[in-house]
Each structure stands twice: as structure tokens, then as C-alpha cells.
Amino acid sequence: MSWSKSTLGGLAVAGALLSWNGVAAADEPAAPGTILSPQQTQVAALKTEHKGGTMRLVARSAQGTIDPHINYTLQYWQFYQSVYDGLVTFKHAGGADGFTVVPDLAEAIPAPQNDGKTYVFKLRKGIKFWDGRDVTVKDVVASFQRIFKVSSPTSGTFYAGIVGADKCLQDPATCTLDGGVVADEAAGTVTINLTAPDPELFYKLSVPHAVILPADTPTSDLGTVPAVGTGAYMIESFDPNKQMKMVRNPYFKEWSADAQPDGYPDVVLYDFGLTDEAEVTAVQNGEADWMFDQPPTDRLGELGTKYKDQVFINTLTAWWYAPMNVNIAPFNNVKARQAVAYAIDRKALVNLFGGPALAAPVCQVLPPGFPGHVDYCPFTKNPGAEWSAPDLEKAKQLVKESGTAGQKVTVIVEDTAISKSIGVYLQSVLKDIGYDASVKPLSPNIQFTYIQNTNNNVQMSVSQWYQDYPAASDFLYILFGCDSFHPGSDSSINIAGFCDKAIDAKMKQALALAVTDQAGADKLWTEIDKEVTDAAPAAALFTPKHIDFISKRLGNFIFNAQYYWVITQSWVQ
């Protein structure tokens, strides 16, 4: 996912989570007369004391379609947690506990049947969409069909293992998932049948691409029209050029504090169109409670001193990287790509991002602390485990050997302070090693989809990737697997267009092995990480930490390892 997070404890936690036993039992709200635990009592008291008010969030821009089955950005996934629900979800809790999968619209996490290929979910009763209609098993079936009908960016990766998915991928418009997602109205159950066991199934069902929408939701990209959901909040209005407004869902009754807790603010306003600088000033002045974008570097010193009590810094399982299109010149030549990887001074980029307190150089795909990560850096002076310095001479030599010197290269970046700085720096590096380079900034609202579409012939870009869930496949298979490459589509998250059959087969082998031998699978992922790094379809830049800058009045800041700040669990009064 573009923008997603975990803590340093992700490795240990992820190992446990990858088995179905790593999910939580059902969590029912207390019935009247039940004696609450001290924690429940405390939460109830806080909710009474701090409930209400209007929370104001700010961002430079919206980030594409509001369709939850399509949008693949943290900005939207973050607030989707309060608006939509799936059969299961990640726990709305702080820290690594946020990786725990808990039942959401389903009453409980089902045990695997049929050698791990069948799961029967029993739907909770009484949950309503925000238009007043009950959630039914028909809605669940239709929602899974819709994932393919709208060509969700993860339809070919996350959900390809569902029976019938192959036909849906070939002809999305007529998708039925026949035999794959089966509803039993009388029993109130939905059965998901897989072609093969999938240890990551519950993670995949927890992300917003698998949320349940009404069966009559249009089967095309909703654009700016919000889909109806079941969450504690509903999207009352959405103007991507101006503002999104979330208000309480009038039909919401909390069924699980872990899956979909009731929120504190009555209204959440999310304003778009401010510059990074203006966002910082707005939060400082109390005009906003939180800013989505990272503060520009010239404000970091001020935030780190005068406002340090309002700043939260958390390590992320993520990376900034520069995908290089392996299907068009000059980067269809592996030496050209490796040259770029050698030439980049990652320490300079760390400084552009805000300094060593906020980022660390990386050379490989898997972030530190991730399952399968073993330190590996071939693209540096004195190659070894860690990056030390760029090797410009080696880079120039590789460019010469590749025969691509002098070719035009354009780097597409977001029109934000940090992204643009990185783009200008990369342009300078490309020129140093012999290319005729230029940089083109685009609005963040369109840059991410623009660089995915092969029709735009993007040679190089700057992007970020944050985990969807704590599994190595979420980086390697999603970003560099053949199934993630959809030529001519805005949803082709394999931006580099990298499709190595041998490496792809190995990835699938690792996915299958994880069902029975997670340690063995992790070893395979380590090898795959090295092979993909060596092929350099992307230049790894750095792994970031995340800064949250909040207003003085905002209380109960909870940082969730999966989706970062849990918006509606903070209060403003």
C-alpha cells in the first residue's frame, strides 16, 4: 500500500500472526447487566467525558478515487477504518497489537476446513448500512464479485486464489466467483473456497479492498461518490478539491470495540488543498488537529524543539523507492538500472527527508525487521550488509557498458516539497552518470495512478510503499510479481513492469510453503529479496519514520502499526 506502517516488533509479531491462531477471538459488546472490566469501565468513562466536537484534519490533496475497492493509499485506508467493514479486520489498537486480525462483520474467525481451502463465515445479525438497510450474505457475495468487476489493484494478487477468480480476471464484467464465494441465506453464512491454502487470507480479507458494500453498489469506479458502508462514521460529503465530511452513522451500534469502536468526535472534517507549510501552521494555530502530509524539512527543527510535546515519531515498515520501467529504454537494460542504484547517495536523501532521526538508507526491498529481511546491500562502495557511500565511478562504467549514455530520462514525482526535492536530486545524479535527465512534478492526486499506467511511458518515478500487512509477499510479490503488472491500467502496482518468470515462480513457491513451514518460506523470501534487489527494477532509497504533528487539544493519540493514527479514537474536547 502506498503509505502503511508497522513497528520494529513486526518480525516477532508477524511470525505468530501468519498462522490462523494469530487472530483474536470474537469480541462481543457487554450485554446489559454485565459487569465491565476495569479497562472497559475506563473506556466508557472516557467516551462519556470526551465524546463530541468537530475534528479537523488537513492534507495537501485528496488521493484519487473514494472507491474502497480501488483506492490503494494510506490517506484513504486510514479513515476507511471508521467507515467500512469487512468480514474481518485489523484490531483498532495501538502498536503491534494493531496487526491482530479480529472478526468484524463475521461473528468469529472460522477454523480452516478442507485442508485449509475452505472457510465458513457466519454473518453477525443486526448490522446496518448507513442508509438503513441490513447487511446480508448477498451483499458479501456481491462485494467479492465487485473486487474483480472494478479491476481492483489487488484482484490479481490478493484474491486470485478464490475459486472462480481465474474466470473473473479474464472477464471481469461477468464475474460470478461461482463456487468461490457461496452464500447460505438461511444459515446466514458465507463460504469462501480457495484453490489452495493461503496463510495470508485473513490479512487480505482485512484490508479495505475486501470491505462489504451493498449489493447494488455500481460495478464501476465510484470516483467522487462515496460507497455506502457500515462503520461508526459515514461520509456525508466528498469534494476532492475541497473537503470530506464524516459524521456519525445514525444506524451504527457498536458490535465489537476491537473491530469497529464507537468514535469520540461527532464530526470529522478533512480539508484538502493546503500546502505542507500551511498545514503545519494550521495545526500550530489550532485551526487543524492533525496533518496528513509529512512536515516540510524547514519546519522540522521548530517542531522538534518548540512543539516537541505535540510530535509523535514512529518507525515504519516501509520504503521510499524509485521504480524504473524495465520495458522501455534506457531501463530495459539491467546495467542502466544498476548504475542508478550505485550512483544514488542515500545519505543525501535521508537528509532531504529530515535527517537520520527520521530515515535510514536502504538498498534492498524488504524493510528492516520484516519477515525474511537479512541485511544486504550490493549497490555501494564496499558492498556488504549495509550501505556506506555511492559509487559514481562504477555507475558511470555501467552506463557506458549498457550503451544508454546520453538518452533522455524523465523522473515523475509528486508535487510535494520532499518528493520534488528527491526528484531534483535524482535528476542531478542521472545527469552525473551520463543521462539527459529532467524531472516532472505532478499533483499527488494523480501521480500515483499516472506512474502505474504503461500508456504514459513513465521511465522513472519516485514512490513510497508501506505494508498492507506484515508479510514479505506484500512487498516482493505485490510490487514485483507478474500478477501485479496490468499494462494500460491505472491499477498496476508493479510500477516497474518487472516480470521475471523464475523469480515469480519462486515467490509462488514461498507463498505455498508458508502454509506448512513459515521459517522455510522466510528463507526463500530472503533469497528472493536478494535476487530482486540485484535485478534492480527499482532503486531502494530509504526507510522512513513517520511524524504525526497534532494540535494541543487532541487527546488519546493512538498509533496503530497497521494504519497509523486511529483517527476517531482520539478526542478533541
Partner: protein, 360 residues
């Protein structure tokens, strides 16, 4: 300036001396008229404000032309290359161009501020560690070049449209006027931004015309075109008036070809209007270019213009405000000088304006 129409040479009374009274009247020597151009030039020369403004403009142009000399020989810097790891000598010791914060949470990285030493980072460094002074001078070259060429393009098209519409009238005038109306209906900046956004993605590739997205010709063309209606309309109005003047009617009656009348009789009479427009349009175009570049849809990085430098400085407003202020001040000074010069040129070439001023 609206001067009495020049009589065509064919109609000149050959018995009268050129430009002067008949000599020998009452025994006094004839006073030779300087001619309208010389008169205008002298008026301008004596306009101290306009001359001072001209001096400022020339100074700015000269300084910007010397940008390569400054960067190469004085500051020894490459203003288009990132210099994040750079160091320079200050008070005998080598200091980094980019400084890390060590206070509080230790966040942030700040480029050095002004050293006030011409040989090294006179105005400090930007967020890529590049010398701001060198970029300011190079940026001025691009800003002035774009403003100047856009002015020429605008005047060229406006003149063609104004002459054709005003002289030929009828369907020609109707079509051209409607075209101007369409362009005029859009606020200038909105039209410029819209065109830039569309064209900046892939450039222009129509037949033999091929302009890449990062070429300076893209903003030049866009800026040149959006201001055409503002010049073409007054030109057209002037041509309409001249079209009814006696000497033009006489020429038509004599069967002089239309193109010849346009070039020899009408065009010289609108020249002064065009000259007045030059400095004023330059100022407007410079502001427009700065606005487009500030919005990342004008000059593309790493090329510099005053607008792009202001945008670079936006990310440093709180720590190094001079990065944004310096090009801003440069724009103010240049645009102000051009406007004052333009006023002076107008006063010199349009005596009616002076009369209006005196009577006011």
C-alpha cells in the same frame, strides 16, 4: 502616440520643403522640426524617472547575462547540480553546506544562510545545496528571455489580427473578433494554467512543430498567446479609425493594393502603440511566467527562473527566507522599472496623454 497621419509619399506636395516652414519668411531662418521620433526621444531622455528605470532594467539584464561568469569564475559553483554533500571554506575551516539540527528531537536539515561573500554562497544555499545567488542570476536570464520573446510573439500575433480585422472588416473581422472574445472570456491566469497543465505532460507535437515538455518555448508560447486579445483589440480599434482617414481612402480609391496600404500607411501609424506596449507587456509576462513557474507548470526543474526559485524557497520560508525573498525582490524591482519605463515611453509618444495629465 496618435500623431497626424503621415501623408503617403505619392501625395506629397513636392514644392514644399520636407518637415519645415518655408524659408525666408520675414527674413528669419527656417526652424527645422526635429521630427516626431526625435521629439519623442528627447522627451523620454528628459524624463528622469523613465531614464532611471531604463538604467535599472539594463543593470538587471547585464547582471543576468553575466551569470555564467559569476558562477564559473567568481563563485565556482554549478547552480544546476545538487550539492547536498557539499562543503565550503568559512573562516579557514570547511563547513557543510547542509547543517543537521542537534536540538530537541534532532529533526531537520537546514542549508547555510547568506555568507555575504560573493565567492561562496553570497545569498546562502537552497534545499539542494545550490548557490542561491548563481541561480538567481541564471533564473533572471530565463525569466527575461521568456518575458521578452513572449512579448514579441504576442505583439506579432496581435498586430496581424488587429491589422487584418480592422482593415478588411466584414467576415474576416467577425471571425477574428470572435476568436479574441473566446480568449478574452477566460481570466488570463486561468487560461495560462489550463494550457500549461495540458501541455506540460507531453509537450506539443503537431506536424513539424515539436516542443518537449521541459522546453522554455512552452511557457513562451502560452504566455504570448494569452495576452494577444489585450493588444489586438486596441490595435484593431486604431486600424478601424485609420481605415476611415482621407489618405487611406484616397489610396484605396487610387487602386493601391490592400497589403501595400497596410504595410506603408497603416502599420507605421500603429507602431508607436506597439512600442508603448513593449515594456508594459514585458512586465506582465514576467509576472505571469513567475506565477506559472511557482505552480510548477512553467519552467521545469532543475532549470531556474525567478518563479521556480520562489517555489524552492517556499519550503525554506521559516529557516532561510532569503531564498524566496531574493527572487521576489528581483521581480518587484524589474517589473516596477519596466512599468515606470513604459509610462515614460507612453508619455513621450502620446502627447494627448500629457495634455490629459496637465488638465487633470
Amino acid at each position: 502616440m496618435m500623431r497626424p497621419p503621415r501623408r503617403p509619399r505619392d501625395m506629397t506636395d513636392s514644392t514644399a520643403p520636407m518637415g519645415g516652414l518655408a524659408s525666408g519668411e520675414q527674413g528669419r531662418p527656417a526652424r527645422r522640426s526635429r521630427g516626431p521620433w526625435a521629439t519623442a526621444f528627447l522627451k523620454l531622455w528628459h524624463d528622469r524617472a523613465a531614464m532611471a528605470a531604463l538604467g535599472v532594467v539594463l543593470l538587471v539584464v547585464l547582471a543576468c547575462m553575466l551569470a555564467p561568469v559569476y558562477a564559473g569564475r567568481v563563485a565556482h559553483t554549478d547552480p544546476f547540480r545538487s550539492n547536498l554533500d557539499g562543503q565550503f571554506e568559512r573562516n579557514g575551516e570547511m563547513v557543510p553546506v547542509m547543517e543537521t539540527s542537534t536540538e530537541g528531537l534532532g529533526l531537520g536539515f537546514t542549508p547555510i544562510g547568506p555568507t555575504w561573500d560573493f565567492q561562496a554562497f553570497f545569498l546562502g544555499a537552497d534545499n539542494q545545496g545550490r548557490d542561491v545567488m548563481a541561480r538567481l542570476l541564471y533564473g533572471g536570464r530565463n525569466s527575461l528571455w521568456i518575458a521578452g520573446v513572449a512579448t514579441v510573439i504576442c505583439l506579432l500575433f496581435a498586430t496581424l489580427i488587429g491589422l487584418a480585422g480592422g482593415y478588411f472588416g466584414g467576415p474576416t473581422d467577425w471571425v477574428l473578433t470572435r476568436l479574441l472574445d473566446v480568449l478574452w472570456a477566460f481570466p488570463v491566469y486561468l487560461l495560462a494554467i489550463s494550457l500549461s497543465i495540458v501541455l506540460i505532460a507531453k509537450g506539443i507535437d503537431i506536424g513539424p512543430i515539436s516542443i518537449t515538455a521541459d522546453s522554455l518555448w512552452l511557457p513562451i508560447l502560452i504566455i504570448g498567446i494569452v495576452y494577444v486579445p489585450y493588444v489586438a483589440r486596441p490595435i484593431r480599434g486604431q486600424v478601424l479609425s485609420l481605415r476611415q482617414s482621407e489618405f487611406v481612402l484616397a489610396a484605396i480609391g487610387l487602386g493601391v493594393p490592400g497589403w501595400r496600404i497596410l504595410i506603408r500607411d497603416i502599420l507605421p501609424n500603429v507602431t508607436t502603440t506597439l512600442i508603448v506596449f513593449v515594456p508594459l507587456l514585458m512586465a506582465l509576462n514576467m509576472l505571469t511566467e513567475s506565477a506559472l513557474s511557482f505552480l510548477s507548470i512553467g519552467v521545469q526543474p532543475p532549470d531556474a527562473s525567478w518563479g521556480t526559485i520562489i517555489q524552492d524557497g517556499q519550503a525554506l520560508l521559516y529557516t532561510r527566507p532569503i531564498v524566496a525573498l531574493a527572487p521576489g525582490v528581483a521581480i518587484v524591482i524589474t517589473v516596477l522599472a519596466l512599468n515606470i519605463l513604459g509610462d515614460g515611453v507612453r508619455d513621450a509618444l502620446d502627447p494627448r496623454a500629457k495634455l490629459r495629465l496637465r488638465s487633470a
